[in-house]
Symmetry: C2
Subunit: 400 residues, 2 copies
């Protein structure tokens, strides 16, 4: 047939997007009825339609972009709900949670890989994949629980920013060693300083600018509707963050915090909600799409995945809990568990490791298994822990 | 640098999407201030950032998919504003407009190509590219004018459906001749019957089903918010339409008409509006992205483009006007001019012609030039003609 749509590629992409959205919606509704976090249903929907089970949808660049926009709009939403001064209020404990929550899993990951006899570059990548928290997953859970504006919720967000910068540095070191054999300290300092400068510039300067000109997104000379200016700001900061080596979602989060200081915060929330509802399922489902059960046919791999997952959970909980000084015990536990999901970030780091020649297919399969397991296990636990938070509201805004 | 975002491809895609959205928004605002239809500003923004001028953004599959979703949401919106019984009310004149509006441009296009000494397959493709109206462009103009619910607006929509089915058949014949040397009548009948059956099934059966179960999109056992079920229906029908060789937007239009019969029409309109606002600029800008001024360096090509554009305009106006019986003269003129834009459809047909080996680069450049010119010229004329319509409302719902 001759698809007048726009070439066969576009027609097939439409079909894939339709299948993912349909499966994710069904998974979402089933898990809602089970009283479980719906994002697990959406991840499992991705497992179902993806290569692991039915093979209806293959991972592709188009799906990657939709997934990325999904997590970008999640973090933009989170930014919209976050005031910079609240975030600065938890700055010290968030930094400690981020730093210790990176160091301990890094040590654990490196120890496992070294014990299996891997070389330094491979061990570094393996450790790096265990380091990075998926703030997208945790954020979606926090939104669902209405816990974004609790002290522990804010601590998780701040820690996730620190975590992301540190993870980027670890990946930079691992890449440098895998490619050239050694890492240049000077280069690392530049990379780290650029990331910090980017975050500080928009978190402090950007929000101050918006407080001074709170009507800028809907200035009569500028735009009729505030939605597109806000979305353009979000995509722009996301793209810049990605280009300088940070996660795009850090840019989206900063953009959200800037918009939160304007007069248009609430109308923009209403208009962003449908974009969130449309794109987020691609983010969750695409994590499931990465899973290929064929890789797990050999029993020893399953044993290793279990071991790695346990290490990933325990090291992150211990590290983050140790960092969560100044919070009550229920809050510290909530923060520590909230940092556990590795989600798409672990998978992305493993992908970079494959491209650098430092990781093989088996290591990738192990990391994907760990990433999916940590992501699926955490939400119900967080939900149970949220009830014990001192400042959890009874109802909060949610995008859907 | 190591983009933690999700691989360099995704980071670059984010940057392209950002640049397109930013440029389109600026173009939109400039043309709003000039009192001109904003979609022209968005098309020219695509010309500016694309290969023709700055070269910041290259056409890609990701952008194609975003553009396709743009026109899908435009037509979904149009469907939401269209009641099937109103469309059936203009059925006879719409069919005539569609049929004559295909035959006359087809004859004109074939004559030009044959006069230039092209063979049958090439002449057929050239004629096919002149045939198909871009209902996406016309719809966006109708939305902007609040003219969707006028008798002439509905006639254009109905005629565009007929036009699309006929164009698909012409392309099928042209492809068959280009590849195999002849077209099988039996196969053409099957293709045409399938397309008609698809349209009739959802236009008549689908809307009847929705009238009978108007609460289905928000049934308590089915879904909390009606947005995703509606969008899934839209993507599903779009994908099926594309897979059977029709334009995806026909499916989206049918889905919109079905949703228009439910109780959720208005909440869905509100929630679809941000999706429209986000995706539509990619549709307009991507038309401009196709333009490559390098192809027009030789003066004779510009002469041919002018000639072909004049033929494309005159034949469509004459054919459609002749078909618009039973309408007043201002209405018939509005309908005839409304059918003129070839937009993305002409470009897509030309692309199929290149893949089939029937069109060369020069023919493609000529068709792209004609498509962009017919698209840019029409909106201001339509706006002027709209004032003379007997049933134009003073204000109408618009997605932004």
């Amino acid at each position: 047939m001759i698809p007048l749509a726009a070439g066969a590629g576009v027609a097939d992409a439409l079909l894939s997007l339709f299948l993912i959205l349909l499966a994710a919606k069904i998974g979402d509704e089933i898990f809602k009825r089970l009283g479980q976090p719906t994002l697990i249903g959406e991840i499992l929907a991705g497992v179902l339609v993806g290569p692991a089970v039915l093979g209806l949808v293959e991972p592709s660049e188009v799906i990657d972009v939709f997934a990325e926009l999904g997590v970008v709009f999640i973090l933009f939403w989170v930014g919209l709900e976050t005031r910079i001064h609240d975030l600065l209020g938890v700055g010290r404990s968030a930094t400690l949670v981020g730093v210790l929550g990176v160091i301990v899993p890094f040590a654990g990951g490196y120890a496992i890989a070294a014990a299996r006899g891997e070389d330094a570059a491979t061990s570094l990548f393996f450790a790096a994949a265990l380091v990075a928290t998926s703030v997208g997953i945790t954020s979606a859970v926090l939104i669902g629980l209405g816990a974004l504006e609790t002290r522990s919720g804010r601590t998780i967000l701040g820690a996730a920013v620190v975590d992301d910068i540190l993870a980027m540095l670890v990946v930079a070191v691992a890449s440098a060693i895998a490619v050239g054999g050694s890492a240049s300290i000077a280069e690392l300092v530049v990379v780290g300083a650029m990331a910090l400068a980017f975050v500080a510039f928009f978190a402090l300067g950007g929000t101050r600018f918006m407080r001074r000109y709170p009507g800028v997104l809907k200035a009569p000379r500028f735009s009729e509707s505030p939605l597109l200016p806000a979305v353009i700001l979000c995509l722009g900061l996301a793209a810049v963050a990605a280009e300088i080596g940070l996660a795009a979602i850090i840019g989206a989060f900063l953009a959200g915090m800037m918009v939160a200081e304007t007069k248009e915060q609430h109308p923009i929330e209403e208009e962003v909600a449908p974009l969130y509802a449309f794109f987020a399922p691609f983010f969750f489902a695409s994590i499931g799409l990465q899973l290929d059960l064929g890789s797990y046919a050999r029993v020893p791999v399953i044993g290793v995945i279990t071991l790695v997952t346990v290490v990933a959970v325990v090291t992150k909980v211990v590290g983050a809990y140790a960092g969560a000084r100044g919070l009550s015990r229920p809050e510290a536990l909530f923060v520590a568990v909230g940092m556990v999901p590795r989600g798409e970030v672990g998978i992305i780091v493993a992908g970079i490791g494959i491209e650098a020649g430092a990781l093989g297919d088996e290591a990738f399969a192990i990391i994907v298994g760990m990433a999916v397991l940590t992501t699926v296990v955490v939400p119900p636990v967080l939900r149970a822990l949220a009830a014990r938070l001192p400042d959890i509201p009874s109802a909060a805004p949610a995008p859907r």
